[in-house]
Symmetry: C2
Subunit: 274 residues, 2 copies
Amino acid sequence: MTSSQHLYIESDANPRLKRWRRLALEAKAVRREGATVLEGIHLLQTVLEHPEVKINAVMLPEGRTTAEAKALAERAAQTAGTRLYVLSDRLYDAISPVENGVGVMCEIALPAAPVPEKWAAADALYLDGVQDAGNVGTLIRTAAAAGVQVVVAGPGTAGLWTPRVLRAGMGAHFAVDLAEGISIEKFRVDYRGRLLAADARGGVNLFEAPDYTAAGPICWLMGAEGPGLSVKALELADERYWIPISRSVESLNVGAAAAVCLFDAARRRLTQRH
Amino acid sequence: MTSSQHLYIESDANPRLKRWRRLALEAKAVRREGATVLEGIHLLQTVLEHPEVKINAVMLPEGRTTAEAKALAERAAQTAGTRLYVLSDRLYDAISPVENGVGVMCEIALPAAPVPEKWAAADALYLDGVQDAGNVGTLIRTAAAAGVQVVVAGPGTAGLWTPRVLRAGMGAHFAVDLAEGISIEKFRVDYRGRLLAADARGGVNLFEAPDYTAAGPICWLMGAEGPGLSVKALELADERYWIPISRSVESLNVGAAAAVCLFDAARRRLTQRH
């Protein structure tokens, strides 16, 4: 490893360090700066598989890292033509978005949000005020796995590019298009497919419903834990479905409900083709 | 509210307080003491709907609580014939298993683990080393929602009755039978249904598989994030299924994978009846 590209940061007052701390902790900073930080070997590997993602900086802790993380960091810095910043372990922990991070981090520029034309006719998932970062990351991962191309988030949903959501997304952020801050009213105007509401309070039994995937693009609407979909989202939905659950529980976790709905659609599209 | 039943706890050294702190923080203490603590109005309401669950104590913070939480705590203490312990907010926070708890907690005795005869012929879910408490709680909730009667955990799975798992379970713990510390080898001997492995690495496409629910009870086996099912569990499984996911992601979150498998079985059982 050549050390010429390495830059040591040892002061709390370093402006780059302050920036990374803001990105790690403040959803608003991620939006304002158009950048985010991500931690871990798997996420960095995924970023390297997507050359369209711009890496702004690569960071390593001075002591607590592994040979694998170091080699990957070196490669990432070379590929991106950026510097490799080496931080004291204490400073690294202060900016790391996860506890017990494995010891490599990078700052990336947020990919440009897709224009509505890009998602208007694609299968999509709309998040209506889902606040929990872990749930939002899992929802993006599940959507990508189910072959959905676009995830759109309304106001009130956790910032899609915040480090905790990225962590839970396990790299799926780079497999789908992501748009956020789009109200359900605006989405209804721009989206050319059908909006399907998943509602724990009622609707057509999902498993007894006729094939809802045959007539073009669909977007599942998922609401927050507790309140579920907003009144507005329910009003604007074209169809409303209910997952048949045992009366012994009130509802499903939003991540589980989305998995059931998105893979019900995937199953229907798969078996329809035969 | 009569205050005669109230007992104020103001010292860190109070033995009850120490006990609750152990139960809140140590999975081993939950097993050893045969008791756990749960926090929040919803969980306490669920407990009250299950008179077979023994409430050992009810706890309130002195300041930071609500009229609703107070009334519920009073009712719970009366129903159970136990005392209502009022803690300084600082002490309450020190034992609360959740941050920003809503202000009511109770200690319950763990329900007796069901004998193998009880679950040997029921639809079940087996957790093979699922360590994340949030995932485990969500899995119990999803299983209950899908009509599965029993959740069995192998060694290495997060303690089912620990406060964080209870929190994520949202009351589902009281809707199913729970058994833990049962190795896959012992489970294979005792369980009389078929074991279905959910494996991200391969197997029969779940959505193209012939009906696997028609021939009696089934148990889905779910492995940990990352490693997936253990070699032993894969060996002992009767059948092995793969959820068809997009090549753009490596795998599903275990909670999402279980939702897909458990509700695929529920759908097949539902439509088979018609």
